[in-house]
Symmetry: C2
Subunit: 317 residues, 2 copies
Amino acid sequence: MKPYVIGIDMGGTNTVSGIVDARGTVIDVDTIKTATYAHVEDYVDALCHSVICLMKRNDALDKIAGIGVGAPNANYFTGEIEQAANLPWKGAIPLARMLNERLHLPVAMTNDANAAAIGEMTYGAARGVKDFIMITLGTGVGSGVVANGRLIYGHDGNAGELGHIIVQRGGRLCGCGRRGCLEAYTSATGLARTAREYLELRDTPSSLRAIPMQDITSRDVYDAAIAGDMLAKEIFEYTGKILGEAFADFVAFTGPRMIVLFGGLARAGELLLQPTKKYMEANLLPFYRDRVEIVLSRLNEADAAILGAAALGWEAE
Amino acid sequence: MKPYVIGIDMGGTNTVSGIVDARGTVIDVDTIKTATYAHVEDYVDALCHSVICLMKRNDALDKIAGIGVGAPNANYFTGEIEQAANLPWKGAIPLARMLNERLHLPVAMTNDANAAAIGEMTYGAARGVKDFIMITLGTGVGSGVVANGRLIYGHDGNAGELGHIIVQRGGRLCGCGRRGCLEAYTSATGLARTAREYLELRDTPSSLRAIPMQDITSRDVYDAAIAGDMLAKEIFEYTGKILGEAFADFVAFTGPRMIVLFGGLARAGELLLQPTKKYMEANLLPFYRDRVEIVLSRLNEADAAILGAAALGWEAE
């Protein structure tokens, strides 16, 4: 068996390729700018050049088992990127085929959140766990659902959109055009939105009032909460409540052993974990109580996206 | 390969065993009363006697590939029935082991709703479908979730409790002790409850007013709706709305190709299907729209429970 895989993390700004071994060590990386290429062909040529450089300088030209790609709106079944809002190219992009034709290596592709789940299962907190749910709390809320040891892609590759489960019917407007999605409340952006609502509707004193309303970020709320600001703590409590209530429903769906949190907001640690656990337990069906762990990702954040994509590379055929 | 399986449908009142071939023909059945046995050992002896009679009279003593059991609160992993409220015996009952020791045949066991899903996948509307959700609308709301061609049992055998997803926080009290579960609205009992609420809160004329309030059943509401009663139609519309909204969330979870409806309330057909489809579509994330079918079970209702259990029998080892 070949000893390495290539993991490619494709973002709107940068595309980072990494060479990774079976234990999850990121041996070397190479980065190109995603958005500078007007034509997708030019982008793919540059990406292939970057990958070949990476292989050459690590003496690994014939040691690669496969390539895994994590990309926004990537479909595992078709190997295409479908209507990704933050990429410069329009229409469906058959990236898996394009890479395969140029590099002559098997390529597997999925969206970022699914890649993160596979990374966690292969190298992280969910190693050996056959039933778990990965939740990424970043600008949006993404998810990857694993059951029976396999990621659930669904009938046409679009399963696992738990960020768009409705938690409040008729609630906050979400980026997807609907109202009340989990993402509108528990993403980093959602938490900042809660902060603005709280500051507007209440007159409790808070250190957050020193920041211009529109500039408040989840990081500001975190800093304030850690410094003891009561309103900031309440904002985390509320976010954990919405998340915990949603998790209680998620558990009734696939009966996971654990829920793994990842992404910017997960860095808040206990501040978010504590209320999330409390409200999940309070809302679970009795026979699920005290049986489901909520844990933080164990992947090094700098490497996580590469590792997730790389883990998929082992499955590429 | 042996040509038959035994399917056992264990209910609180009757336990029906059937001998079934690979095409899903129920060749013969035998029934015993469940609740007449004070000791579980006596019940199991009687059940084994019933199964042996069934095999003998069909000349199938050495033609059985396995036994499948569908039972309330049955756990696939442990082969035990756990705290079933409507069975006369207390504690965990290791039914799979007890049957295996007496009959020397492989036994697999799961709960009724999961068995129905496996039956639908093997013999019914979901034949060959790898991603679907089965919803049983009876006294309660049960479910079986299939992804990647396999039933999701979850980490400890308790997955797929979609009847207890919260659809209205702080809403109706459910039999599980919590509030606002799907089951409290969209089971046959839930629909009758909606009828009582509507009759009490409104003064619209309705043929349902001729029935004593506490006696109203989902069947009465169905008959009234079919006869053109406007209030009865509204009750189905409301039930379909709650169901359709919930289905939109379910789709975002496992990305199924279809949702199969089964059980007493599913017999209402278009009266329920039409609003359910409408509200599901209206609440789906855009890229799921017009991609998910809602269909009625294609299993003959009299045989369905046996067929579900029997289908599991092929998997027993």
